[in-house]
Amino acid sequence: MKRHLFSKSASFHGLFCAVVWAVSVPAVADGRLMPTQVPTVYKQECAACHMAYPPGMLPAPSWRRIMTGLDRHYGTDASLEPAQVQQVSAWLLANAGTYKRVREEPPEDRITRSAWFARKHREVDPAVWKRVSIKSAAQCSTCHTQAEQGNFDEHQVRIPR
C-alpha cells in the first residue's frame, strides 16, 4: 500500500473552516504515518533510546542496512537477539516508504538527511535547532506534539522557546 506522506493540510478561511475541519479529520486519521500494528519489541527496544520512527520515513534498503548493522548503530551498540532483529526487520520492510519522496536513500540512512526533511523544515531558522529545549532533530516530538502517534500535521507543531 502506498502511504501518502505529508499530504498538505488544506488551508481555507472564513465560513469554510468548519466544513473543512469536519471533512479533514478522518483524512488525518487515515494519513497517520505509524502503522496500526507496532511490534512490542520495536517500542521496547528501538524506542527506548529514540522516538519510534514511522517505517515509512525511510526506504527499504535503508532499513535493511540499519538492521544488519545494529552493533554499530549511529555510534552505539544497539544489538538485539536474532529473533528480535528478524521481527523488527520484517515489520520495517513491510511498512517501508514507497512514496516517491522517500524512495531516495538518504546519506547515512538518516531520516534527518533526507531531501524531503530539509525541504519540510526549510522555514525553521538554524538558530531554532540549536535551542537547549530542542537539542536534536532526531526527537520529532519536541515540536511535533503528536509525532509518537504518527501525526506530523503542521497544525500540531509547537516549537519550544
Binding site: 524506542a47 527506548a48 533510546c49 529514540h50 522516538m51 549511529y74 555510534g75 552505539t76 551498540d77 544497539a78 544489538s79 530542542i134 537539542k135 536534536s136 532526531a138 526527537q139 519536541t142
Partner: protein, 136 residues
C-alpha cells in the same frame, strides 16, 4: 468425603499457587536482589561512594552514565544524543527500576559499551547499584 467446602478450598489454594508461579518471573527481582547478585559475582560488597564517582565520570569516551541519566539520577532525563526522555533510574524514584534481571543485564551491557567501550565488571555494577539504591 469431598464436600463442597473442601473442594472450594482446594480450588482457592490451587488458584493462589498458580498465581504465584505465574507472577514469579516478574516479581523475583528487586533492587536488593540485583545488588546481591552482583556482589556475589564480585565477591565483595558494593560501595555507593565509588559507584557515585563511577557514574559521574567519563571513562575515555564522550559520555558518562550521567550524560543520559543525570546526576543524581532521581528525575526524568534526556538521552545525550537523541533527546529521548529517560525515566528516573534510582529505584526510590521509579518503582519499575531494577526489578527485571534480564533488563538490568541488557542495559548494563549496552550502556557500558557506550561509556567504557567494554562491558562493566561485576564490582563496577555492584558499586553503581549500591549508589542507585542509596538515593532517597
Amino acid at each position: 468425603m469431598l464436600n463442597f467446602r473442601k473442594f472450594r478450598r482446594m480450588a482457592v489454594e490451587t488458584g493462589i499457587g498458580l498465581a504465584l508461579i505465574g507472577g514469579l518471573p516478574a516479581m523475583t527481582a528487586t533492587p536488593q536482589t540485583e545488588l546481591l547478585r552482583w556482589q556475589q559475582a564480585a565477591g565483595q560488597t558494593g560501595d555507593a561512594a565509588k559507584g557515585q564517582v563511577f557514574f559521574g565520570q567519563r571513562h575515555g569516551g564522550e559520555w558518562s552514565c550521567a550524560s543520559c541519566h543525570g546526576q543524581p539520577p532521581t528525575r526524568d532525563s534526556q538521552h545525550a544524543s537523541t533527546g529521548k526522555k529517560i525515566a528516573a533510574l534510582a529505584p526510590a524514584f521509579n518503582a519499575e527500576r531494577l526489578t527485571d534481571s534480564a533488563k538490568v543485564d541488557k542495559w548494563f551491557k549496552r550502556n557500558c559499551k557506550d561509556v567504557l567501550s567494554r562491558e562493566c565488571t561485576a564490582i563496577e555494577k555492584a558499586d553503581v547499584l549500591a549508589y542507585l539504591i542509596g538515593l532517597k
